[in-house]
Amino acid sequence: MRTVSLTVNGNPVDEEVEPRMLLSDFLRHELGLTGTHVGCEQGVCGACTVLVDGETVRSCLTLACQADGTAIQTVEGLAPDGGLNVLQRAFQENHGLQCGFCTPGFLMAATALLERNDDPSEEEIRDELSGNICRCTGYTGIVRSVQAAALQLRDGTVTASEGTAE
């Protein structure tokens, strides 16, 4: 067993893990953060995407012990007050999800994109999100959602982390 110390959504975590345990399984089954989904465990679909020190990482291809000393953000950390942040709200308003299974991965990938670039073109959005597969939406609603969120962020009326109570 290995000891890992990290923060997840700002909360300190100290746990003993088997060296072979995947980060996705650690988050989901050890910490109960089941919002991060597992779609392929082949590093292709992107459903398991989380942010490790701000960078998008496929948690199904990462061992939990590799995350020692890092700060991880998952979908549960996007709007800690139980509401929806700007990006999440934009997904609802632009029909950016259907079955909702790939959605957490897209939200994390889009969060990372908007942190770097608050005025991405449609082409840039499509390119940046091409590591995530959605089988329901045809991506139309997802691209529109990210564009809508970016517009709001540029307006300066809201910040990326600002939650909106329902």
């Binding site: 953060l33 465990e41 999800l97 259907q98 959605c134 329901c136 139309t140």
Partner: protein
């Protein structure tokens, strides 16, 4: 002609305010916060974890299985094989024959004698963790006696072919021929006959959530609790109950949030029997979560068809006749409930589509082969057959020197209700108008000019049209229209006004992306005059909702809405009587809207529906009313045939050197009658189109000649990303169905059904200077590049 019924205005009250509105989905927040509850998010006390050992060979007798080393691994609770299930009398899953000469297909939950495809489950390990269970699978020793693999559907019926099922005389699932009109004469008299053999690739829905099952056995009551990622909890319960010899209500099947289905989860599976069996034997809950390899190798595949089509055309371009032969490479087992015939039957019965053609014949057959069994995938064989037909029509147009859209318009049926020569009763639509609207949306003439100009610069763009009819609202009459008279669908639902004035709708139609919690709340709110936020839609739990055949074949919107209108109408009548009694007026004078009951024309008289409901439940005065006053009603609905229609047009640019296809533009004209929620319609179209694009260009399950499975990862089976799909524009035409409740038509599949033909036709149009045409899917970059190179070589 059509069985025409007028719209019942009692069922579709005037002043509807939610139906037709673009309303944001009410189910979204839980998914956006990561609070959806999918099977793998559920944990039961004392739960163990299962992994399956799966066959690495396509066809073999099992001579021995030694599980002793696996069972001895620390952390392993038990290992089970087919012998264990057989010893306890677990019955096979039966796919019943429904044609003369067809045999029942019996599938043991785990095989006792032989394996028939790579990926077939052979044994199951139950352990403390999935990690240990997978370790133990590697310690199971199976001896196989290899048999020749049957892979080619055209050779499957050869006398020398190895037999998959020894209880059947041949590898034939079923065969059927039909002839309508006088096709022999039509072809004899035709000025032109166009024909091709078109091979449609083997594809599947491939949802991002794989399947999964959790089972718990209640020893005291002798029943099961089963969670499953399925589109059809009630059918799953029916099949599992039969396998265990239990009464249906001894099993509670819950489909929680489900991460996509697309038809692949519309079949009961052996794991839904094996995992409950393991839970019963062990006495603890057992969870199995399908991994991606298992999903790709062993959840149903679809649409692999060899199609020989012929089109008879008069000198002026009039379509005189069509002939088709459809051979489905249906894999190793029958697939309940449709069997492996589903793709071939659907492809054949939609052969005339929206064309006025009076002479049609077809032969359909499906054969067992040593590949994964085939079942349903969005658009089913309708899509495969559609692609083959529409590609042939474009080939014919090129040969005749005709514009492909103009040729289609010339042969298109009128927009009024129409009975096709094979007996399908189209309920009217906008067959020609949708083509014209697509043409106008593209600015067709300008596009052709741009195409000519770019060709001079050595760039190749092309446009492809794919007008469609989509059989939808799949009830027993629609099933019969595609030749599945055996498939009786059965759906009922209830509407209840609770004592707090909220409304609860209970239906068996599972929602796994379709947005039922929103659309059905719209329908119920309109029917009862309540606010949408006061409606709750319940589904997914066989203990909590009435029976339904389930969500597939674009059926939920039509049938579910009809159920709500019918049951809601009953409750509405009682609500009116109660309000009238409370307000001391006649029920005929009461109007219900916005959560209030008021005397028509006098809104200040309003009592809230909550007040009326409380009066009903708790007000002693309400007991003076005569008759049954239960504020609930359960109704069934089995709609007539109904068909959506539309046109998909795709503009592509093709690089003839690399074969790379770039989708520049996709225009989808959709006519699904009265729209419940245009936002959701547009989402369904876009998603379906994206899957169609994937099937046209990238997706295929590949087996080698020995039956080895070569598509076990998402790096092999390629799903289109946001880069490949490109923008999709959706335009609406709204032709209410004259036959369904509320004029609604189902619309989930057309994009997948019709987009591949548009893509293939666009690529062939782009490459028409090279004379390249296509007779298979997918048309991968390498296939396109090789086709161009072959034509160039031929010229030299």
């Amino acid at each position: 002609m059509t069985t025409s019924l007028p719209i019942d205005h009692e069922l579709h009250p005037a002043g509807a305010q939610y139906v037709g509105a673009k309303i944001n989905r009410v189910e979204d927040p839980r998914f956006l916060r990561g609070e959806g509850r999918f099977v793998d998010d559920i944990s039961l006390p004392g739960m163990l974890h299962a992994a399956f050992l799966r066959s690495p060979v396509a066809h073999a007798n099992i001579t021995s299985i030694d599980t002793s080393r696996a069972a001895a691994l620390p952390g392993v609770t038990a290992v089970f094989t087919g012998q264990d299930l057989e010893a306890e009398g677990i019955q096979p899953i039966v796919s019943r024959a429904f044609l003369p000469g067809m045999g029942d297909n019996l599938r043991e939950p785990l095989p006792t004698k032989k394996v028939r495809y790579v990926g077939e489950a052979v044994a199951v390990v139950v352990a403390d963790s999935r990690y240990i269970a997978e370790d133990a699978c590697e310690l199971i020793e199976v001896e196989y006696e290899r048999l020749p693999a049957v892979i080619d559907p055209e050779g499957a019926l050869d006398p020398g072919a190895a037999l998959l099922h020894e209880d059947l005389p041949a590898n034939l699932i079923g065969r059927k021929s039909e002839s309508h009109g006088d096709p022999e004469r039509a072809f004899a008299e035709a000025d032109h006959v166009f024909s091709h053999r078109f091979v449609h690739g083997r594809v599947a829905g491939v949802p991002i959530e794989c399947r999964g099952v959790i089972a718990e056995y209640d020893r005291g009551r002798g029943g099961f609790l089963i969670y499953s990622s399925t589109q059809i909890p009630h059918l799953t319960r029916s099949v599992a109950a039969e396998c265990f010899g239990l009464a249906e209500s001894d099993l509670q099947v819950i489909a929680p949030d489900v991460g996509g289905g697309f038809g692949i989860k519309a079949h009961p599976y052996i794991e839904e029997v094996v995992i409950p069996f393991a839970a019963r034997r062990i006495g603890r809950p057992v969870k199995w979560i399908e991994d991606r390899y298992e999903h790709l190798a062993s959840a149903v595949h679809a649409k692999e068809l060899v199609m020989d089509l012929e089109l008879a055309v008069a000198a002026d371009g009039t379509f005189l006749g069509m002939r088709g032969r459809y051979n489905a490479n249906a894999g190793a087992y029958g697939c309940f409930p449709q069997t492996g015939m589903v793709d071939a039957m659907c492809a054949a019965t939609l052969l005339p589509s929206l064309y006025k053609v009076d002479h049609v014949s077809y032969e359909i057959l499906a054969v067992y082969t040593n590949k994964c069994m085939t079942g349903t995938y969005r658009g089913v064989g309708w899509g495969a057959g559609h692609t083959a037909r529409e590609v042939l029509i474009d080939d014919a147009a090129r040969a005749l020197g005709r514009d492909p859209l103009e040729l289609r318009l010339q042969n298109c049926i009128p927009s009024e209700p129409y009975r096709s020569v094979v007996g399908m009763n189209y309920d009217g639509g906008s067959y020609q108008e949708s083509m014209e609207q697509a043409r106008d949306a593209l600015d067709y003439d300008a596009l052709r000019e741009r195409q000519a100009k770019l060709r001079e610069e050595g760039r190749y763009i092309g446009v492809g049209f794919s007008p469609f009819v989509e059989p939808a609202g799949f009830g027993s009459k629609a099933a019969a229209a595609v030749g599945q008279k055996h498939q009786v669908t059965y759906d009922w639902g209830s509407v209840t006004l609770e004592g707090d004035g909220t409304v609860t709708v209970r239906m068996g139609f599972h929602s796994h992306g379709q947005g039922h919690e929103t659309t059905f709340a719209q329908v119920a709110a309109d029917q009862l005059g309540v606010r949408m936020e006061d409606v709750r839609i319940k589904y997914g739990d066989t203990e909590g909702v009435p029976y339904s055949t389930g969500t597939f074949a674009s059926r939920s919107g039509v049938i579910g809405s009809g159920l709500i209108m019918r049951a809601g109408g009953d409750v509405r009548d009682k609500l009116l009587r109660l309000a009238a009694h409370l307000m001391e007026v006649s029920p005929a004078d009461i109007e219900l809207a916005g959560g209030k009951a008021f005397v028509r024309g006098a809104p200040d008289t309003a009592r809230t529906i909550k007040e009326v409901a409380q009066y009903a439940y708790f007000g002693p005065g309400s007991r003076q009313l005569e008759g049954d006053m239960a504020l609930t009603s359960t109704r069934s609905y089995d709609p007539p045939e109904s068909y959506s229609n539309g046109t998909i047009a795709v503009v592509v640019e093709v690089d003839p050197e690399t074969g790379k296809v770039t989708i520049e533009r996709t225009v989808a004209i959709e006519d699904c009658g009265v729209m419940l929620n245009p936002t959701i319609v547009e989402g369904q179209v876009a998603g379906a189109v994206a899957q169609g694009i994937g099937g046209a260009l990238y997706e295929e399950f590949v087996y080698d000649d020995d039956g080895n499975f070569l598509s076990g990862t998402l790096l092999d089976y390629l799903l289109a990303s946001s880069m490949e799909v490109g923008p999709i524009e959706v335009h609406h035409i709204e032709t209410p169905s004259p036959v369904t409740d509320g004029g609604i038509k189902g619309m989930g599949e057309a994009g997948t059904l019709a987009a591949p033909a548009a893509v293939l036709n666009a690529v062939a149009d782009a490459l028409s200077p090279f004379g390249v045409t296509f007779t298979s899917t997918p048309i991968t970059a390498s296939l396109i590049r090789d086709a161009v190179a072959a034509k160039r070589e031929g010229e030299q």
